[in-house]
Symmetry: C2
């Protein structure tokens, strides 16, 4: 199926399939089924088979999926067979946690730069990173041809940072700042504001 015809909701499930498959591989497993994947993920087996069938023929009726093969295929589809360099903007608590986060390994991402505008932070180290001046951000991101950024700056400065990142050629932004960002067509944003996700659950809780 042509890429542009795959619903985004299906695309959103593929990383979950990949994560489960990679976990199974670490558990020493070789083969799985849409049933087992579905139980792990709380998604129906039929939905998983339907989603995967949009991209190709990955399993045989009755013998299930080869975990390594399907993982590699999903990595290709999601463009994470090789690591993307990622810039982190904002070296506060969240930015620091991101720079030190070990969970990007084998998931396709590698933090390679971290920026802040606080003179007391610029030049300080976080692990193997030296915090760089946000004033040099556009130039450095362009020079390194980085396409992905994570924003962990205060909400009032997030849009300005975003505009600069777009100017620097960034195409995908993971936004931890609690604010909606305006970006031009061709640039994507995903939001990780914990309060938004918590409020989506409190709706269902008794007061």
């Amino acid at each position: 199926m042509p890429k542009q015809n795959i619903p985004d909701i299906v695309v959103g499930r593929l990383p979950q399939y990949l994560r489960s498959l990679q976990r199974m591989a670490r558990e020493g497993r070789y083969v799985t089924s849409s049933q087992e994947l579905g139980e792990r993920l709380g998604i129906s087996a039929a939905q998983i088979r339907k989603d995967l069938s949009l991209f190709g023929e990955f399993g045989k009726q009755g013998t299930g999926y080869n975990i390594e093969f399907l993982s590699k295929q999903l990595q290709e589809i999601l463009h994470v067979s090789h690591d993307w360099n990622v810039a982190v903007i904002g070296a506060g608590d969240i930015g620091t946690a991101l720079a030190r986060y070990k969970g990007f390994a084998n998931r396709g991402f590698q933090v390679s730069m971290i920026f802040d505008n606080d003179p007391e932070k610029i030049g300080q180290s976080i692990g193997s990173f030296v915090i760089e001046n946000t004033a040099t951000m556009v130039e450095k991101i362009k020079a390194a041809n980085i396409k992905i950024a994570m924003i962990s700056v205060p909400a009032p400065t997030a849009q300005t940072v975003t505009d600069q990142l777009v100017q620097a050629g960034i195409k995908a932004i993971l936004n931890y700042a609690p604010i909606s960002l305006n970006v031009p067509p061709g640039v994507r944003v995903q939001y990780l504001d914990p309060s938004i996700h918590l409020q989506r659950m409190t709706y269902y809780l008794d007061k």
Copy 2:
């Protein structure tokens, strides 16, 4: 409309509306429109009017929405008129960032406890919190009648922690561990695994 008939996708947009309205209020604004909200959020004005109409009559044709009134109504609907106490499990980088996070203020949440199983961390302070022993978690959460937890432990221990939280009466979990959690009916989980959100965007990027 009866609560159970509201689609979850609509519920998921309400916190975004509330966040934008609260930002407008901080900007000193009193009145807004579905058009303006839509432009800030990248959601159509018609969608916003339709979503809100499921919950009541919040604006007048031609005069728009009173920001303070609609904010209060959405806070009531989302059950965040008063703060919920939240327990953080895992005092690593992410748990520490959550315990120190200022973005929960006025959003309905207040971190009130943080737990870890590392003897070197137990008893240490993070701001005004003292890290408590995970062994006492079930008892302390029950005693404090806490219903919401944030999990920031390594993936291999996240399911065990979840089972204990369910036993302690937790009904809503914000999960930072990169793993799918099994929970019984009546318990909700939202996932904040950055790699999942990044992979959802790299699909659309040129390799």
